[in-house]
Structure formats: C-alpha cells, structure tokens
Subunit: 361 residues, 2 copies
C-alpha cells in the first residue's frame, strides 16, 4: 500500500523487524540503555539541550501534558490558531479552565509575528503562548523563528506543537527559545503511533513548579525523575521504543540537514505536480508545509469518492480535508520514510482518478 | 529469555508477526474492522454487554481516565487498598481533588466485604468505591464478587482496577455489577503495553454526565462517539491493535474458562514449588493471586542480587517487590502466554540461585 497521509507514516523494513522484538522488563537494564539512546537521539533532532521526555500516548496526549504541566486555572494564555490543530490546543486549554485568548488566522494562512506581538501587547496579563509549528489540517507552516522572537522578547512561556514538524522540518528549539516542544512517534520518526515527546526548558520547569492544574499520568517531574534511572513512571509502549531506536539510528545516518532537505524536495515535487494538474493548493505559497500538502478538490467533486477510488483502484491512501474542508479538500502526507518516487506514484494515480472522475461527471 | 514479571508479558510468535504489519490509515475501513472485532473480543473476556473503550496509554492512564470521567472535585470516594496499586488509585483521586476515604488493608491480605460495608455505612456521603481486583504488588486477589454485592446494595458506583486480572482470572463484570472495569494490554492479553481498556456501565454513564473533573484526552464520550464510526478520537497505537486482534483470536480458540483454569493450575504450581523450596509466600493463602506470586527472600538475602543472578546466569527475569518490600520480596508473573513448563523452568533456576546464594552467604 502507498500510505500517504500525515501520520501514521509508513515503516521502513528495519523498523518493522524491530517492532516484533520479544518483550523485556521495562524496569530492567536493557530498557534503560534503549531509553537513554533514544532520548539522546531525539534531543539531536529537537536541536535541544533541554530535558526530553517520552510519554506513552498520542500527539493530543502530549498537548494535554504540556497544558497541565505548565498552567493554572484562570491563567491567561494566547493561543495562535491557523487550523484544526491550533483550535484543538485552544479548546483543550479552555476545558482545563485556562483563560484563553485566541488569535485566529484564516485557514491556509500563517500567523505573522507582528500579529502575535500585537495580541500580547493588548493584554500584558498573558503568561504563555500556544502555537502550532506545522498545521497538519491545512498544510501550512508558521514562521516560528520570528514568532518565537516576539514571544521571548516579552518574557512569555512558548509552547510549540511541533508534532508534524520536528525531525522533518527545521525547528531550532534552543536557538529560537522554544520552551516546550511536542512531537509524536507516528510522524517524521517512521515508527507507529504510541509515543509522544516533549522537550522542557529551564523556564518551563520554573512554570511547572508553580502550575496548579492537577496531573498524574502526564506529570513531567515524574517522567524526569524516572528517566534518571532509565525508566518511565508508568509502563511504556516498549515495542515502539524498539522501533524508535532503529529509526533514530537510520535518521542519524542520513543526517539532520539531509532529512530536512529531502522533505523540502519531496514537498516541492508534490506541490509542482498538483499545480501542473490544475489543482488549487490550500496553503499560502510562502508558508506551504514540507510535510503535508492540502489542495481543494476540483469544482463540484467530493473528496471522499476520490479518496476511495484512489485506495480501491490504485492502493494509494491519502487523507480527507479536516473540519469545514472535509468534503472539499484532500491532503497528502510526505513526512518520514518518503522520497520523490513515492510522490510520483501518488500523483500519477491521483491524475488518473481525477481524469476518470471528470469524464464521469 | 524467560520473562516472568507481571507485565509486560511474553508475546506468542503469532502476535510478534502481527506487530510488524505495515501502518494503515487509522481513519480508514481496515482499522474500523479491526477495532470492531477487537472490541467484541474484549467484551467477551470482560464478560460484559457494557460499552468497552480502548484508549492509548498504560494501566495508570486508564485509572486516571476512570477518575476524571466519573468524579467531581470534592466528591466523596472510598478507596480500598491492599497494596501499592490500591495506594496509587487513592492518591491519584486525591490529587484530582476528590475527597478520598481510604480503607487500608495490611499487605498480603485481601479486603473483606464486611469491612467495605462498614466503611460505606460510616459515611453515607460516599458516592463511589475504587477497588483493585488483583493487587500486583503483593500477589493478592480481592473477593470482588462479595465486595461488589455490598457496594451495589448501597447504590454506589463501583470502579474496579482489573488491570492484571481481566482475561486471566474470572471477573464477571455484569453479573457482579462492576460499573467501570479497567485492564491493560501488557497483562493477560499477550500483547505489548500501549493500550488500556475500560468497560462502562449505564450507571457509570449517568455519573459521567454529571462529573465535573476536566478531561480531553481520556474522555469516555469522545471514545464512544468515535467508536461508533470505527475510530478513536486521537491517533491510536495501531500496531498494538494488530497484535491484539491476533491474541484475542488465540484466546477465543483456547476458551475463556480454559484460560482461567490454566492460570489457576500454573499459579498453584508456582506456589507449591515456592513452598517446597522453603520460601514464605506473601499473600494470605485464601486470596493468593492466579496471575502473580510474591514471596519473601530468605532471611538476610536482598532481592536485587538474586534477581540479577537469575537474569545473568539463567536468562530468567522476575520482578523485585514493590514499595516497602522492594528489597525483601520477589514476584513471579504468570499471566498471559504461560504454562507449567515456564514455571518449572523459572523455579528450577531460582532454586539453583538460592542454593548458591546460601552457600556464599
């Protein structure tokens, strides 16, 4: 199957082999070595010297973790949303009693640093900014470096949903001053879903010490304390660790900058092919994502039958749009284990499906 | 390796094979079929017609889920603890602002229904009872049927940690009136950690509708709503689903009662061998667990060097004790993929280690 959704992403054979490793004691020495190696590998791709914690859960789980570990009920937060996952971050924080001001950017556009600065200056009581680096629902990447600059100039805590970017798109955690950065195993990491990652800066730890939201399962302090002994507080998704160990070795071998460059090339190919086929891209071209491309379906065509035809007849799986654009847009994931050939295969099939659908229409 | 800890448990070859299946779309038709089949399989072993929800997380995660989905801050709860995992349930509820009364039973003993009834009658404001079915830290099983009877007679909500019992030890969810029953994939289910299960009765749903604790990731309503379309609200641990599908087919083939009987035989063999070797069992013999056996180390011997010797020289991994008994007790897991031969292998090796340690001492 040609699986081209923005996660779960396809597994290389080496990772699949590792996944079927027999279980071990998660409180034993072998697991301690694995979590040590994997944590160092993740830090390299997160470009950070901060603590890096591995939790068992999905990307949404680690978003919840970031909120409950750093915030208190009633605390004022600016949530920058450029799509569905930004909306989720904002509504989740609100559900936990955080006082959320939302900076809503129209779908397909990125947030600009000026707008973030303005929103922060309008309410000096805001302590924290939640921002999506790469918005999977629209295929748009925020200019995080410039956004981080205005957030840090104002001394706010910066929490970044980097779930579909870290390891695939350049995100300089320490250089840009991102306090908490999140990712999930099923994205650029080439392993199945089940693990989620959070880097935590010294400033985030200070906030954590004062944060009043209740937490047990997601508690960062427990995760840090156990990591010092090569363990996790609760039983972790051991097989995903086995896969991640192998995947990170492969990523190290390819090289961080090489991986970013490959994602850039592949994404460009995807966009070029889409435009050649007369499709209208969803994202502002200046901020088009290197891990997912969203485009509108041709006038009058519904996304679902197109996706089904692609799957049934060409064994190629792409994702429907999200939210208000579920029926009128489609999304192609190109992160993790992907090269130009995969994109050509996908776009060739899509082209055939579209021409047949047009002929039928 | 002979892995004899109370989870993660060893994986049969069929399950390992399934774990390396290539990723699929978690919002596609194939995943919908898998979650449908697996949910029905779990309900059979939970012995319930209630809703059965599958969450991505550990056993501790689903304990947190049970609390935040059914309780409100300040609500009065009776937490029955016979060991570390009972303590965890109580302290977790307290952390979320629940008003916890603890019925603490000395380690190695089971809770009696009379004591539970008395504790409930002492404070009619209590709405809910938290109880561990099988206490992994001490190898003790509570007489859940009789406890459930006194809880239900008083109209309280009954939340059962069945993490290391369901699927291995008889737990009649519906017949006994257990409102919420929890389990985790790495226990009797013969698959890796990463998924956790909760059955939810109509009475629990009523409580859920009024429960005020904030929740997003663990929300039962979202899980139920998505399950109706063959999905989960957040990206699930897909590979563990692949393994669970195969494991549940194997369990169905063996048969529920047969599995319970096998666990009974294997546990008896483990206890008999331990007693023959002159070891003192931890649990009250009337309530000894069929999934884990805990015993004291011989006078003056520390648990850790014994466990290390067993691992290094006999490739056999057993667990240390927990909490106050970490250094003075050891635990053998016998749940999931286990038979008498595995126990003989374990106890033969343990016997050699003990005799050498005695000779040295």
């Amino acid at each position: 199957m040609n699986l081209r959704i923005p996660g779960p992403t396809p597994l290389p054979p080496e990772v699949r082999e590792a996944l079927q490793t027999q279980m071990i004691n998660h409180r034993g020495r072998v697991f301690g070595q694995i979590i040590g190696e994997v944590t160092e590998g993740l830090k390299h791709f997160f470009q950070t010297e901060n603590d890096l914690l591995i939790l068992t859960g999905s990307g949404t789980g680690v978003m919840e973790a970031a909120i409950v570990n750093t915030l208190s009920p009633g605390e004022k937060v600016l949530s920058v949303s450029i799509g569905n996952f930004g909306d989720r971050f904002a509504s989740m924080a609100a559900k936990f009693g955080v006082d959320v001001t939302k900076l809503q950017i129209p779908a397909g556009h990125a947030a600009q640093a000026d707008a973030v600065a303005q929103a922060l200056d309008a309410d000096p009581g805001i302590t924290t900014v939640l921002v999506t680096h790469n918005e999977t629902s629209t295929g748009t990447t925020n200019p995080l470096e410039s956004i981080a600059r205005v957030v840090k100039q104002r001394g706010k805590l910066l929490i970044v949903d980097g779930i579909s970017s870290v390891g695939s798109i350049d995100l300089k955690t320490d250089e840009w001053g991102c306090d908490v950065v999140l990712s999930g195993s099923q994205k650029g990491w080439m392993v199945p879903p089940g693990l989620a990652f959070a880097s935590v800066s010294p400033f985030a730890w200070e906030r954590h010490a004062q944060a009043k939201l209740p937490r047990v399962y997601w508690d960062f302090s427990d995760a840090k304390r156990y990591l010092e002994h090569g363990e996790t507080p609760w039983t972790p998704a051991v097989s995903i660790f086995f896969g991640l160990q192998v995947a990170l070795r492969m990523m190290r071998e390819e090289g961080r900058e090489e991986i970013f460059a490959r994602h850039g090339r592949v994404a460009q190919r995807c966009r070029d092919r889409a435009v050649e086929m007369g499709l209208k891209l969803f994202a502002d071209p200046h901020h088009a994502s290197n891990t997912v491309t969203a485009f509108y379906t041709p006038e009058g065509m519904d996304s679902r039958p197109l996706a089904n035809m692609l799957e049934d007849e060409y064994d190629t799986v792409i994702a429907l749009g999200q939210g208000a654009y579920t029926n009128t847009s489609l999304r192609i994931g190109h992160l993790g284990w992907v090269d130009e050939h995969d994109i050509d295969l996908t776009m060739d099939s899509l082209e055939k499906v579209l021409s047949r659908a047009t002929a039928k229409g």
